[in-house]
Every structure is written in structure tokens, then in C-alpha cells.
Symmetry: C2
Subunit: 654 residues, 2 copies
Amino acid sequence: MNVHVTPEQPHEPESTLPLAEARKAVEKQTGRIPTGPRAGGVKVYASGELYPDLRVPFREVAVHPSANEPPVTMYDSSGPYTDPAVAIDITRGLPKVMSSWRLDRGDIAPVAHPREVKPEDNGHASGKHLAPRFDVSNHRVFKGVPGRPVTQLEYARAGIITPEMEYVAIRENLRRAEARDLWGRSEGAQAASDRVASVSPERDGEPYGAVIPDYVTPAFVRDEIARGRAIIPMNINHPEVEPMIIGRNFLVKINANIGNSAVLSTVDDEVDKLVWATRWGADTVMDLSTGRNIHNIRDWIIRNSSVPIGTVPIYQALEKVGGVAEDLTFDVFADTLIEQAEQGVDYFTIHAGVRLPFVPLTANRVTGIVSRGGSIMAKWCLAHHKENFLYERFDEICEIMRAYDVSFSLGDGLRPGSIADANDAAQFAELRTLGELTKIAWDHGCQVMIEGPGHVPMHKIKENMDEQLKHCHEAPFYTLGPLTTDIAPGYDHITSAIGAAMIGWFGTAMLCYVTPKEHLGLPDRQDVKDGVITYKIAAHAADLAKGHPAARAHDDALSRARFEFRWEDQFNLGLDPETARQYHDETLPKEAHKTAHFCSMCGPKFCSMKISQDIRRDAQAQNDAGGSLAEAEAGMAEMSAKFRAGGGVVEVKV
Amino acid sequence: MNVHVTPEQPHEPESTLPLAEARKAVEKQTGRIPTGPRAGGVKVYASGELYPDLRVPFREVAVHPSANEPPVTMYDSSGPYTDPAVAIDITRGLPKVMSSWRLDRGDIAPVAHPREVKPEDNGHASGKHLAPRFDVSNHRVFKGVPGRPVTQLEYARAGIITPEMEYVAIRENLRRAEARDLWGRSEGAQAASDRVASVSPERDGEPYGAVIPDYVTPAFVRDEIARGRAIIPMNINHPEVEPMIIGRNFLVKINANIGNSAVLSTVDDEVDKLVWATRWGADTVMDLSTGRNIHNIRDWIIRNSSVPIGTVPIYQALEKVGGVAEDLTFDVFADTLIEQAEQGVDYFTIHAGVRLPFVPLTANRVTGIVSRGGSIMAKWCLAHHKENFLYERFDEICEIMRAYDVSFSLGDGLRPGSIADANDAAQFAELRTLGELTKIAWDHGCQVMIEGPGHVPMHKIKENMDEQLKHCHEAPFYTLGPLTTDIAPGYDHITSAIGAAMIGWFGTAMLCYVTPKEHLGLPDRQDVKDGVITYKIAAHAADLAKGHPAARAHDDALSRARFEFRWEDQFNLGLDPETARQYHDETLPKEAHKTAHFCSMCGPKFCSMKISQDIRRDAQAQNDAGGSLAEAEAGMAEMSAKFRAGGGVVEVKV
């Protein structure tokens, strides 16, 4: 049996609640976990060819029949929570997605004696202060078998296409091939055929060196992983994950941070925020908890998460040594890695690039060191006058992480915390070190991504991407923002979305969201939603600018709905149907207004789209009747043709 | 006398309310006009050297004495409403700012017979449907004297520095010279001297051809206006305006749109939105009203506006011909220009670039024509099969506008309304025509800016700026957004802020805001604020990226406050002190928390800035005591020095 612990066991001193009571307490707390389909769409699944059992989820939004268009398929990170066919019970966790293929191959095996939970794992919380334990009796802990491959990188190098690789290939294509076929088959094919272009438009973008294929194949996924240019973060102990890929030749992803702090929050809040964040589109979630109870809360989060979970293990390690950075040791850290790897954390932020010689480079900064992990390690380095033990013993860290396929997120502990400190010597010294470490991790078979800033004015953003590509060998970049100005506390989701969209365009593979509460307090539910939607915008704007062939269809479908006054379609196709509808209905609430050819912004007489349609309609009608407008239109076409040929006063680029 | 009309006059059929009653009605309606100082700062004025009577407003925010810093001076567009010394009475309008210098020179003269208000000016509204008249008995109508200069462009060409030119020069410098002197004089000058750099930092930015001087002089302003690269939009009949300048070698400005539609809104709402928008930072306001009562509402807006007001006169012209585009004539349009010029509108959007041959170029667009003015003119052109009369009779329009120094905002009637339509033949054909028209307007002595899109994915934004600079001879660019994706109705302030920040960086002089209600309905108060703050962020991010020497001081002051846990300063220095404070206080409301060295985001043990400060403090203390940390620190400094010299494993760029 692989039960870490059950509350019934009398030797568990930190728990006083029997399991049933614990469940009840949590149920009461978690009653508001949002489930059920998202507005305007339905959940559908696609199966694999290599692995027919795959069930790759999408959100499908059908438009009004008058449009004569197939439904729009969207990427869906919301997990089983939005599938009405799945009964959600967060006390039991989500169903497993990952198959037993690794086990069947003999590449992994159950761990005979998983690490026992210790009182310090939860900051010595006890009694009523201890968060209820998740029942882990169904959670078997696995580990790689020595001498066998275990990471996606190792399989990819061996030429193997794993089920996860086919899964993400299907996921990235958003059923475009199917949509194209549907367009072809649809009635009124003439009009529709003009629209096919938007499903597979001619490549239109500036990819800055990204090489995005027309369609993502499982072999392409394998090859990108093999060369380290993409990762599938997915611990073998987190079988609930719906696989996703992070790399600059794939759709840009976003991460949402959750987690309690010593000041605030409970199990309730965090599971709710996890589900809420993924409901609106978070592709991964980082649990940045720092208070007590973080072991227990983490179990609740992982077992209920269909997206990869990242953590910063040094936070928990610090809690274990009573918050005294100087007392940190490699052993405490390694123990924490194993603890979290067995729970199923999918990627670890490791601040191994905060080297002793770099710390004084921050001495004259306006905002010093602003990474929590970075400041902890800097303090340790200076106190001991020793090199960072994460750097010195990086090989051992690699071996621990490899055994569970935990991906590296090499932390930027010296990232700038203000416009004044952007792109300085400390930051770039660390970045180059992360490049060194990337090669070492790859040598151990580990998957790697690199974290980036932070606070950077627009004109210094591209240099970040260029330096990262140059020194980190194209390992995926994962940036926080960056914030493009410091003057708007309360609005840093916006100051940072500007930078995030740009760096995503330049090649960043995943964008870590920033919420309106940044610098001011712990985000609540509304902040999480605002942060996620804002970053979905930034990521999609980046996909468009890169010329990702899967991106434009969504914009075009919504624009057509807008032009044709299909209000319901416009709401449903948007990132947040409820808010769009609510904004519209504030001024025009009646059902009849949902087909009205205007809104309250311009009113009926001044709607340009209506006038524009009138022009087309009149031209068509007069054309049919052979009237004067038809002549005008014909004349226009002729004049326009001449004009295009260069006969006009103004030369037109067509 | 220059009274347009007084309600007492019995021949005014559309008004039934005597003036006193009208005033009462408005007073009741407008009780919520926001007045009083903005939180955290005070209003101060600077005087001129050439014109000592100038009173140029700024918002001054003092920081905590412990910081040993002079106050931060911010640009202040909020007008007398935030000056507690000014008694506001919106039924009387604002005090005049502009002096009588033009009149004294004999360049302008009162109009003997101003245009009378006609029933159609207010859409034939009457009785209780007619908005109350503003009492214009104090509003004398002026016009240029034939043969004399009247526009800022004409004075600039003649080598004359007007009071307005000195006013904006002072305004653009944000009292940086004074701040630098204060830094120099402050006690603890050693620490402070390090900070002087942020008031006048070394130029750090990518200006893309902008030539921003270290300090703006009145002569520089004159020269920029003379070559058409900047404008001071300010009708001689709008003496309430606090002069401001729009040009790419000045701070990036933002415009807020207000205005009723046929569906919604009243005098009350619009004056409130005007004051509200400028309170948060709108540099100009466009009144885009399209319903009835627009003449009357416009008087209320102009007489109460300290920022330039723009309009789209074709909207009112269309109302005058019963909403039938085909019935528009040049005479109705010219009459409307004179009506509005006499009221005091500062710039007109004129869609003279929507030429007949360009209209068919929009036939295959996804969203057709999305400019209201553009669609109206396109309809007229096609219906009559004639060239746009605004284009054909552009000279006459110039002569009307010149006589009042109304600036042109040459409208982009064919701007794209979706990602799919960006940068197409129709759009760029029109842009080149606007370049032609710019030269014509300049020949007439008129000030000109050029409107730009719209909806543009990131990779196509720079082309817009480059084409505009190339074809429009560096006349200031004034863009709407652009929106970088179409998929987020309800969040288009954000989709567009991304594009706005970028195009501002590339050289756009003024950004027209987009609110969260875009495409969905008429913005309300909260939407206006959200739009303005979002665009202040975009404009400032652009200033920073351009390397504007006045931009960074604000960011640095806020970052220092953040690092030093001066919470009150952090709130007050932000764009929206109330919201920042509220967000912080949601979780840590106590007064003691305002000096706490942490917030609820990370809690006390995990605050990186606190740890970072601890490191510095410990190093200092041990240094003083000659202890081991001092050695460590000394060793660090040495190691760092070696490292910088290239001795390290990693080469560091310093």
C-alpha cells in the first residue's frame, strides 16, 4: 500500500480529525468549487491515432445557423470540472488521465517506502490549526527504475513517441483539419469557401525564428522535446494531468500563481482558486504557499488538478528550518524535493543561478533582490560566504528530479524588480549561469525551462529574449510579465500584459500572470480571473503576431459574428461570455436587442457596421435590378481596378 | 453682444424653461461632478519667463520625510476642478485661461453676427425633451481677421513664441530642473546624489527617430509646430483650455471619448464624464454625441472643459438631414463647422480621405467599414457615384477652420475593424490621401494630426507608424488602440493597451482610449476611468521606451517607496491612489500595516525586499563592527570586481 498516512492512524500526531469529519469540513469549505460547463460552449473530446484511447478535450462553440459555419474549437484547460458527465468529488480527487504505459514497459516501479509525512512538512501545525489531510490511499508513489528511461526527454531522444506527445499534438491543432473539411462540406459552399482561409490562413506573422509547422504532428512534438526546445511538464506521480506542451513552436501558454501566505488563506480558498484559474484558461498553476500546512494543502491541490503544478521547494525548505535562511542545508532541500516529487509536483523552480559572486552586483539596485527564492539564497550565500549549494550540488538535484520526470524551471532569483534595474549585470550574469545549468540538466535527461523577468521597459524586452535564446540553447522561456512601468499599483495586470504580449511574440513559451493585486496583497478570486483573462489576451496576441496558423480562426469567427450582429455568438466566442453579455445588457437588456443591428454605443442610426452592410445590400439589390447603384458599383469596381493597376493618384499596395 | 440665445427670448421655440429653472434642473443633475484635490497630492502652479502671468498646473506628491527626497511633480490635466481655491459652478463654466493677446494684436475680432442656434441643431428636440441651454451670454465669439495670422502654425512660421507655446514648454518639463536643484540642496546629499540620476537619467530608450530634447524650450515648441510635427489644439473660442501639445517629441497624450447616443445619456452624464475623465488624466476629450440635443450638450461640455474638445462634425450634419446620408450636402456640413467652431470645438475629425475609388477596396473585408464617419461618407459617395465632397472642397474647409484655429484630425474612415482587415489596401490608400490633404491644410495655415487604426495584430503595428511618418510628413499620429486581438469583448481596454503602448513607442503622439465596453455599449463612469488609467499606463510605457527624459523619475520614485516599504508613498505616487490603497487594505487594514515590511502576498518571512534589505543592513552592521559578514561583503566586492573584469566563469556585461 502506498498510503502516506491516514488520519485514523493514531501515531499521526498532527491530525486530530478522523477522515469522515475531515471530509465533511472540507466539503463545507469547498462547496463553491465551480463546476459545470462554461457558458456558450460544450466540451468535446478527440481521440488519438497512435493511441486511440486518448481523450483530448476541447471547448466547442457553435454559432447561429444563419452563419453557415462549423463550430469554433478552442483550447480547453478547464479539466473535468466543466464536463457535466464527470462527478466531481474533491475529497477523492480527479480521475487519472495518464495510462500505465511506463509501468507496463518496466520503466517505473512503485516506491516501496514512500517518504513519511513529518510534522515540519506542515510547519508543525496541529490540532485545529492543521489543515485536513487529503486521503492519499489511492495515490501510489512511483519512481524511475535505474537504467531505464523515465523523462519525456529521454523517450524523445530514443525516438519514442509517448502517449503524452500524441495528446499534445492533437491538442495544439485545435481540430483545424476537421474544421477545414467541414467548411468544404457545408452548404452554400461558395460563401463558406472564402472563409476557409481563416481556418488555415496563409502564414501571416513575424515569428522571430520560431518554426511553427502548419500542423503539429506527434513526431514534431518528439523532435522539439528531444532538442530541449519544448517540455511536457508532468510528474509520473501526477496522473491526473491532461498533458500540455511548453515551447516556442507551440501555442503560448499562461501560468497562474495561487497559494496561501502566512497571513491568509485555507485549503478551501486554494482549491477554489486552482479550479477557477483553470476554468478561465490557466495552462499551469504554481502553488506558492509559504505558510503552515503547505504539505497538506499541496495534496489537495495536486490531486484535484488537471494542469501541471509548479512549486518553489525552497519555500518549504525554509519553513522546515524555522524561517532562518542561514540554517538551510542541501539535505533539507533534497528531502523537500523528494517529498514534493512523490506528491506529484510537475515542475520545480530552483534558484541555482543565484551565485555568490553575483550578489554584490545587486548592491546599487533601486529594488535589490525581489525574487523570494533569490533573496533567500543570497542571504545564505553571504552568511556563509559560500557558493550557492543549489549550484554546487546541481547534479544531485538533477538525479532526484529525473527519477519522477519533474521538470526544471530554472529560477531567475536576480530578476529586476523595477524599471531602473532592468537588464543589469546581475540579471544577465544569472541568465548565463542558467544556460550552463540547462546543459547539465539535459545531460541528466531532465526537461528544462528558464524563468525570466520581471520589470522591463518595452525597449529592453527583446534583449531579454535574445539573450535567453543565445545563452540557454532555446530551452523554453517562462517570464513573469514583464511589467513595462512601475507607476500603476492596482493595475499591474495591465502594465505587465503589454510586456507579456511582446515577449510572447518574441519567443517566450509561457507567461506567468500578474494580477491587479501585485505588490499590494494576496489575490482573491476576482483577481485570479482578471489575471488569467488578461494573460489569455497577451498569449493570443502573441500567437497572432507570430503567425501561429491556429490562432486567427478564433478572431475571424468573432469578427464575422460582430459584423453580422450575431450578438449571442459574439458573447460566446469571447474569452469571457458572461462579462460581455452583462456589459451589453446593462444598456440593452431585451431579448430583441440580441439581434438588433446596433448597440447603445452608437445607436441605430450611427452604427458603421449597419451602414456598411446597407451599402453592400443596396449594391446587391440594385445589381439584381440593373439599377443605378449597380452601375455605380460596376463603375466603382472598374475604377478600383484601374486604381490598383497604378492609374490612380495614389499608389495602392494590394 | 455675442449671446447665441437666451431662454428668455420668446422666439426660441425649442426652450420652455426659463434660465433660472434650467440652472436648477442642471444643478440637481450635476451635483455629482467630482471636485476637490486628488488623493495624495496638491495642486501647484508654475509661472512663465516670457509670459510671467502663465499659471501652469502640476500635481505635486510629497513623499515621507524619511526618504529625504523632493516631491514628485506630475502632469496634471484635471483643470480647476482639483484646485480647492477655485469655486466650481458648471452653470457658469470655467474661468478663462487664454489671455487676450491675439485680440490685442488685432489678429482676431468679435463676430458681429454669430450664427443663431436653429431647431435642427438639437435634432428638433423641444419642450421637456430639449436639454437646458447653457447661458452663453459671457461667451464672445471671435474669428480671425483677414490677412492676419491666427493659428499657432502661422505664428510659429512667423517666428513668434505665443503664450501657449511657453505654457506647454513648461508643462512638458514637469519641473525637472527645479527637482534637480532640490536634490542637490537636500541634506544627506550623498545618498540623494545617487538619486539625481533618476530626475535626469542618461538617455535610455529607443526613440525610433523621435528627437526629444533634454529640456523643452518655448523655441523648440515653436519650431516643432512650424514644421507641422506638433500641434496645440485650441480654438480661439475656447479660452477655458489649459494649453497642451501633441507631437512625437513630447509626452504621449491620451484622449477619452464621451458623448451621448440616441439611446442613452444626458447633460448630466456627459459633463460628469468629461470632468471624471480629465480627473484621471485624459489630455483631450472627444464629444461623439449623436442623438438629439447635441448642440446644447456641447455648450455645457466646452464651457466646462479645461482640455481641448474634439468632435466629428459629420455626425451632427447627418442629424440635420434626418439621418439620410445621401441627403448630406457641403452647405449643411460647412454650416455645422461654423456652428461648432463658434462654440469653441478645438479639433474636428474630417473624413476627407474616404475617396470614391477606395470604397470598393473594402468589399471583401471581414468587417467592412467600421468608422461611423467613414461609412456615412462611403454611403454618400456610392449613392451619388461622386467623389467625397469633403475631399473635393477641402480648401474651403481649411479656410473655415483656419479662421478659428480649429485643428484638423484627419479621420481614418477606412480603418480596419478586425485583425483580418488590418493594413489592407483600403486603409493604406486612405492614409496616403491623408498625407496629400495634410500638405493642403498646412498651405492654408491649419494645424493637422492624422487618425490611425483600429484593429492591428502586433506584427503589423510598426508598419502603420512607418507608413504614416512616410506619407503624412511627420504630422502627429493619433491612433485608436490598436486592438491586438478580437477575441476578448469586455476587455478591449486591455487588448488595445498592448497595441497603444507599442504604437506610442514607435511615434504616435496621442492615443485614443478604448474602454471595457467597446463593441458592447456606451461606457459608464467606471468604464471611463478604467479606459483612462489603462491608457495613461500605455502612454507612460511608451514614454519610457522612447527614452523621454521626464518619464523615469516617476517610476523610480515609486520603486524606491516600494523597496523602502513606504506604503503611503507607494499609493500616492500611483496613477490611482484610492484603488491601490483599497487593494492593500482589503487584507491588511490596520494603520500599523502602512509601515510594515511585508504585505499579505508573501507575508513577513517571505518578503524578498525585506530579506534584501536585511542583507544590506547586516553587511553594513558587520562592516561597522569589523565582523565576519564584513569580510564576506568585502570578499564579495573583490570577487565581484574580478568577475566584472572578466575573470569569472561567466562574462558579465556591465
